[in-house]
Symmetry: C2
Subunit: 116 residues, 2 copies
């Protein structure tokens, strides 16, 4: 059993091309013995964003704090806020963007252990 | 893509033997097309608890609100509170208990899609 908090988890800046003002923590991963999936947390700076991209695995998200948008494959910006759950399907193009004002986005991004 | 909230998700009482005062919602599951894992949310009444049990799959939890304890295989009660992440390993005996006072426990419990 592992019990931890974000305060006890290393934070690193996301260096991926197309990402800006996003920081990552991984409170639960295969390094803890999780056999199927990992919980990552992305903390955004105001106006920060992930790349507009797609990948073979799904994301399951929970918005811990703040607000922003998810850009869909067609370019639509769908609003997200604290308390929302989001499922991004495999190979579905998407981008997360934090609001530029108010509390910036903090969200869980669960992925298969192949990622973390 | 699916974006939803707990307010838009059906809530049912957990009828499992050994559970008391626990309600379940499943905002993201295989019914939404998630290929690997599902997000369930358990909302406890004050003093509510899950069974003291084990199963072949892990749990990955995030405490959305409230506080309580996780009982470990050895019977130790480890405190959990809003903001904590918990990994229960496969076949590790455990029980979640909500505090009887203050805000009762509300937590994400992620499981492989074989469960939901």
């Amino acid at each position: 059993m592992k019990i931890t908090t974000l305060d006890d988890t290393t934070k690193e800046t996301v260096r991926m091309e197309g990402a800006s003002g996003v920081h990552k923590q991984v409170p639960v991963s295969k390094q803890d013995g999780s056999p199927h999936f990992s919980f990552r947390v992305f903390s955004f700076e105001p106006g920060g964003h992930t790349p507009f991209h797609a990948h073979p695995s799904e994301h399951v998200n929970y918005i811990i704090e703040g607000s922003g948008t998810v850009v869909t494959a067609s370019g639509e910006e769908r609003p997200i806020k604290k308390g929302d759950f989001v499922l991004i399907l495999p190979n579905e193009k998407h981008q997360y963007r934090s609001s530029a004002t108010g509390h910036p986005l903090v969200m869980i991004c669960a992925v298969p252990v192949e990622y973390e």
